[in-house]
Symmetry: C2
Subunit: 382 residues, 2 copies
Amino acid sequence: MDNSPSLALSKTVFLAVYHLQGTQEQASAMAEDICIEQTVEFPPDLVHRADIREQIFGRVESLEQIGEDLFKAVIAFPCEVAGNELTQLLNVLFGNISLKPGIRLVQFSLPNSLLDAYRGPRFGRDGLRARLNVTKRPLLCTALKPMGLSPLELADLATQFSLGGMDLIKDDHGLADQSFCRFEERVKRCAEAVNNANEQTGKPCLYFPNITAPFDQILDRARLARDAGAGGYVLSPGLAGIDTMRRIADDDQLAMPILSHPALFGALTVSKSEGIAYGALYGQINRLAGADACIFPSHGGRFSIDQNECRDLVDATATHMGDLKSIFPVPAGGMGLDSVKDMLSFYGNDIILLIGGDLHRHGPSLKENCRKFLNLVGADDE
Amino acid sequence: MDNSPSLALSKTVFLAVYHLQGTQEQASAMAEDICIEQTVEFPPDLVHRADIREQIFGRVESLEQIGEDLFKAVIAFPCEVAGNELTQLLNVLFGNISLKPGIRLVQFSLPNSLLDAYRGPRFGRDGLRARLNVTKRPLLCTALKPMGLSPLELADLATQFSLGGMDLIKDDHGLADQSFCRFEERVKRCAEAVNNANEQTGKPCLYFPNITAPFDQILDRARLARDAGAGGYVLSPGLAGIDTMRRIADDDQLAMPILSHPALFGALTVSKSEGIAYGALYGQINRLAGADACIFPSHGGRFSIDQNECRDLVDATATHMGDLKSIFPVPAGGMGLDSVKDMLSFYGNDIILLIGGDLHRHGPSLKENCRKFLNLVGADDE
């Protein structure tokens, strides 16, 4: 092999930040191991080619103690190893080492040469605000549920929510294409209901059907949703594939905002010492994959995430990533009207507030309950 | 809503088994919560319709203490809630509750009415053995690496491995379509090399290129691999999407064996108290999604899994799931010739032994090293 032509890669790198559990010595070995495991995956002593060692291996940029038996490692990987594919970028960031204990991916940083391969969010925060004519206040969202209602009944809920002034109405992520509530009928009826209500109110409200579906059907569902007059898509990348979301987002014919749902993603984040940190997954990976807003399990709801993790997540929805737009964080998971005040004080105005079941709890008129929700956030400055 | 037509579902259910961490009281509340969270995701006290309560809600079938603060819950879900879509089945099994602490999906059981929606593995253990004319001994597999080699160099390795008697030669899962080693050239050259060697040896050896790729490219890569004369596919469902693998497996035109790689899957299993158990993910979900063999991080290698988890995983590759074929477990992760004896005594003969880098360690001739590997498992009875 020594006579073969040498590699001549660009030597530009991207950086990945990991938290490593162990002693200094262990963490140092873990960091070196990541450099090998995520690239050549080959005993380094058996790699005799200098060009492969220099141009393919990852490299430890820094290792810093940040707690008891806790270290932060920054690893540089050659851009060409990830190429221009999101699947392979995810593989380099966390493919094999997801199988090892004590390693958590907490952040990554891509140079423009790599970011150029990603369109990212088509709308982002500004684009979604522009579509809704809401410049300052948080956007308000609710969900069509419970599962078991017919398309007509869901459309009736959609009418009341849009007349009540909601900005966004999403399908519950569990509404797929069940025999008791088919996708096509549901989406047509709900889109029509929302668009009729919009004519009455003169205010845009966007309906986001859930298009999460098998590989062969997801593009068709997106097209059907667009043609029916929907205003965006709900998609669970954990179920349908992260690159599947990117594919929908990149499609100029399907161009509507995407609300990313965290179903199954929880398993990636729930361990504190392994998996992927909330910010890296919900903020950064969602943005690479074209989500315009990301639902996540807020602290204070029925899920397990603490305030610091929420802050990191929100930061990552807006942190600098080349030209990629900032996206809306959508704290959720059992939020109610009673928690709006706390949510606003914690998150500020650049969020989408999502209240589902609790909107049904505050009196018999859903329209009235929506107005209560609106009153809690105050009128928009416009 | 009380006047609307009632649901009239079949009342057939599928069962999911969870491990729950907590006291009896906590576990009982968690089990009840799963019934709601995974179906209506709506405050149950606000669901007034009896048909929805009876026909959509999950139902706790049993709750049993199995350890200190550890309970096993069996939950029944209506089949129609999952419908005939793998994406939605995964959502019901573990979508939202993946976000909650102390819940681990350990197993599931689907009635034939649901299983009928899944073709499952096209080849399975028997089909793969038949293709290779190996009836009893373990199948032997190695990998083309390290990354950084050119297509010609990889093809040269492939020649030596196939002349040496390997049954399967897989691309390293990190070989995608990088600028320094394009997919098309690599696959054509390696397939040709293996097929030429097969003509010399008269023994079939199958080359499995890695087709893991973005949504738009994966079908094209599979077709290119098939047309180039490859013998199967390597695919990482964690990167490309679980249903993406099912789509490839179900395609009658692409019909070749699939080797599932665990990249990124580790994050789903690495926590002992959350996520998805090895058996449910590697065995059961892989089979639903059509893998014929599943690489997993064996105990004794460089990953984190214990012997009991390995046994559960192997059991799940063959456990009864209607007509779904049994698939090969492929214990991996730093295995070497020195560990073959222990592997055989632990796993028996119905496995694929995968040795990568270590084959390069036992002398200068790869062909000879392959023969050493073969000698360790003994000749086939045929």
